[in-house]
Symmetry: C2
Subunit: 305 residues, 2 copies
């Protein structure tokens, strides 16, 4: 089945202690769509300016990604982000954020996409997320991401979004901020009370966990020896997660476990290079091989009692 | 089989944001011995002063723990440590360290313990660790712990210890310090080159991993909702790890996986209360039940390729 993915399509300039890249392909919808596309077809909704390059369109316009929902604004400029990472990749400094055409983004689902059963709303204004929820006609399974900026700035609208989504992806510090709880399991429990039936807390290099009312799954991050750039890792995680679920067609716990590992594995590929370099030319077999190596790193049998 | 455990036996005064405790039973040998004793018999080597209480002796002098090696120094005072934790339990401030009788600790293995096959040398002066290695007569499987104080202060003696031990337990920041590597997998690989055939890197609330030349196992921490005090968690981990291996009788990868989870589970009990309150009256079945819950939190099947 298809996953509708709504988010940013961007130029990213990134500095790490050793290397840097200028105006690389980025944006939450790009990372999530590429990650999901290895298991599911994707319907991408986003906006770019006239300056967006054909080279980058060619990367996302592929067999499993339908870019009918990518608006190109005449005379407009594409969302531009510039950031710098320290030797600790958790220390991220934003140097430039030019919203450009993203500032007036009013995403509209193409008519035949409104009945989609799987929808991922990446980190955008919760007002837009709410509007998109209103455009869906078929009671889809909806995931959303958010960030500190909206938790502080638009808490009421965000609360309405949370009442209506099935899964929230959120990082550790934002989970604490949203819930007011320090312990992450407690924080996730509080967030469940706000609406989502599933909360996925992303902890970067420390992995992630998924909590429902009666189910908990925890995974470490995939161990990387050639870590380069964490930009987009969270969106890649969510895309890999959604691609797995849409392909499976349900959210039974067995598939939630699989989705968490697919998300983890796809995110690990993303972190090994700048931009989408390492997630644009994967094969499902390559992804599954890393999936199975990950299972070897974490598997243990139960004890007899 | 028996595990010889050498380390501190102490009075600990601990402050957390909500609660505090005065002169509670503590010390690395105490935590490790109690944790190991649920699966293996333990031979404890340590030192206390005349002020050590019968109440505390009664806690460690139990069926599976032989305290023949616990020296009581007439007129001496027991090692005393006082510390304070912030709302982030990784922020630990040491308020008082009175080494007392521990300052002149010269551990001697009782004659019949020298042939022991399993030995855990908790975090003590690497000179003493080296001396104890010399007392062992039967090529035992030896684990040791260490800390930043020795990495900085006695690097040459520590290097000699590392050449002779089988497994090093070390926390994340100390692994970085010892190896000069930022990435923890790379750090552990560098430490393997220093001698140990197994390195266990402890990451507190973020879990732990075990690396050998050709094997990697990663586990999250057990998720706790009533976390109170991390004091002794690392020693409890090592004790649970060793108790499992000594009971199994070998270090095959299947048992290394089990040992990592036993360590994780025992450490989780330790963190739920002050001192050894939550690890002194467990049953092996209670431990195994949590072990199996942990497996449920992390298990996932391989994908077919």
């Amino acid at each position: 089945m298809s996953v509708v993915i709504v988010g940013s399509v961007a130029f990213d300039s990134i500095e790490t202690p050793d290397r840097q890249v200028e105006k690389a392909l980025g944006g939450s919808a790009v990372y999530a769509s590429l990650a999901a596309s290895y298991q599911s077809s994707v319907r991408l909704v986003g906006v770019v300016g006239e300056d967006f390059t054909q080279e980058y369109i060619d990367i996302i316009d592929r067999k499993n990604i339908d870019i009918t929902g990518l608006e190109i604004v005449d005379g407009g400029k594409t969302f531009f982000w510039k950031g710098r990472y320290g030797s600790d990749p958790n220390e991220r400094e934003t140097l430039v954020t030019d919203l450009n055409v993203f500032e007036n983004f009013q995403p509209v689902l193409p008519e035949e996409w409104k009945k989609s059963k799987w929808v991922f709303l990446a980190n955008i204004d919760p007002g837009l997320q709410l509007d998109l929820l209103g455009q869906c006609e078929n009671d889809p399974f909806v995931g959303c991401d958010t960030m500190n900026f909206w938790i502080e700035g638009k808490p009421k609208v965000l609360a309405k979004v949370l009442e209506r989504v099935n899964v929230l992806f959120i990082n550790d510090s934002e989970a604490r901020q949203l819930s007011g709880e320090t312990g992450l399991i407690m924080a996730a429990r509080e967030i469940l009370k706000m609406g989502p039936e599933i909360v996925v807390v992303k902890k970067g290099e420390h992995g992630a966990f998924l909590l429902t009312e009666d189910f908990l799954f925890i995974t470490p991050a995939y161990p990387l020896e050639n870590f380069l750039d964490p930009t987009g890792a969270g969106d890649t995680f969510a895309g890999g997660f959604f691609g797995c679920l849409a392909a499976a067609g349900d959210v039974k716990t067995k598939n939630l476990r699989r989705a968490m590992i697919y998300g983890t594995v796809l995110a690990s590929f993303a972190c090994e290079n700048f931009s989408v370099e390492n997630i644009r030319d994967l094969s499902l077999d390559t992804i599954k091989e890393r999936f199975n190596r990950m299972v070897d790193f974490i598997r243990v049998d139960k004890e007899e009692i």
